[in-house]
Amino acid sequence: MVRAGAVGAHLPASGLDIFGDLKKMNKRQLYYQVLNFAMIVSSALMIWKGLIVLTGSESPIVVVLSMEPAFHRGDLLFLTNFREDPIRAGEIVVFKVEGRDIPIVHRVIKVHEKDNGDIKFLTKGDNNEVDDRGLYKEGQNWLEKKDVVGRARGFLPYVGMVTIIMNDYPKFKYALLAVMGAYVLLKRES
């Protein structure tokens, strides 16, 4: 006969005692739990800021919403924004229109360049019938270098779907972050 109860389910011995670890800690250990959480958040933040400094772009990784057939919804794009790089027709740039938050990933189709390096360019999405003049600000017909967030250097397919899901269902994002945060704060590491 097998006594399944003795070794079966891997449950905490005293039911749902999530604060059990915390109750047994002294002040230093509690401070270390908080610090641990803060360090995980800080590491993620520092890696992001580090990428910003390295690439020169204010948002070095973006998720593509539409640019068929080159990119599909949910692809992750890596951008750089070095001032010396020239912008040429045919390249894919990510730009922000003044007054709008969402960066747009489209292709450059026309470029006007002055001798001193000032540039005016026009963009169009590969999947669109017309150029982007309808998207620009009222009265604006050309984009300038200051509107550019970065130029596409590489991409990862499908990985960005997680970000899209978390943006479409913000409650899911907060729930996930809350659970992960609680786990780090409440569990004692040895």
Binding site: A13, S42, V53
Partner: protein, 257 residues
């Protein structure tokens, strides 16, 4: 699971053979009865084997009073026995308690404070970067950001070196004040290890003499099944003597020298 099968097998075996030696379902013939008797005995005798909880012997027990009294409000420590890190933490905490309460040593928080300081400084750099970038949006904040990011990762490197080489697995540094007040303190250090999914717990006690600066160590490696009972309660009556023995073995050498 294998553990359940062993336990079931053992109880089935002992139930079947408890009637009488020589019952037909316990032996197949006189020629082999000696081997079977030994096997019966082995299945009935509790045996501490390194492979499974099912063979641990200790039933739940209340704490007895030893030479040194437990504090009145001391509750027995109860944890999930399958959680390796909880087991190690509770064993470490109890070893700490024995050294601090029975032998009345004073804990020195230097190592821990060092680690906390390094972590706090790293978080400080991160916060500075965050606030600066918020107040001066990106291109202007580049030099400050670069400085903070590099400092943060340098601090992380320092922290890794500190925990690997200076702190190692030491979880207690305790001082024994010299009763005459003339010599510097003797230092006792406790460190332990318990590998993932393993049941062998190693506890190492290091003694550094204040006067001669000599270092001596003693350690033991035992299965955690010796110290915990079925319900996951740490049985101090089994654990405390081990620690005292380690301590006394180092203390006695000191007296001889």
């Amino acid at each position: 699971m294998a553990a359940a099968a062993v336990q079931g097998g053992r109880s089935g075996g002992s139930g079947g053979c408890s009637g009488a030696g020589g019952a037909s379902n316990c032996g197949t013939g006189s020629g082999r009865s000696g081997l079977l008797d030994k096997r019966q005995a082995l299945t009935i005798l509790p045996r501490l084997d390194s492979s499974s909880w099912a063979q641990a012997v200790l039933p739940p027990q209340p704490p007895k009073y030893l030479g040194w009294q437990w504090k009145i409000d001391d509750k027995p420590v109860k944890i999930d026995k399958w959680d390796g890190s909880a087991v190690k933490n509770s064993l470490d905490d109890s070893a700490k308690k024995v050294l601090l309460e029975k032998y009345k040593y004073v804990e020195n928080f230097g190592l821990i404070d060092g680690r906390l300081t390094i972590c706090t400084i790293s978080c400080f750099f991160a916060i500075v970067a965050l606030i600066w970038d918020y107040m001066h949006p990106f291109p202007e904040s580049k030099p400050v950001l670069a400085l903070c990011v590099i400092s943060y990762f340098v601090m992380m490197g320092i922290l890794t070196i500190y925990t690997s080489y200076k702190e190692k697995s030491i979880f207690l540094v305790a001082h024994r004040k010299d009763p005459t007040g003339m010599d510097p303190d003797d230092i006792w250090q406790l460190s332990s290890s318990l590998k993932r999914f393993d049941d062998k717990y190693t506890l190492k006690l290091t003694f550094i003499s204040g006067r001669t600066k000599q270092q001596r160590e003693a350690e033991f490696t035992k299965s955690i099944a010796k110290f915990f009972d079925h319900s996951g309660t740490l049985v101090m009556d089994a654990y405390e003597p081990e620690i005292s023995r380690l301590h006394d073995s180092l203390a006695i050498e000191r007296k001889i020298k």
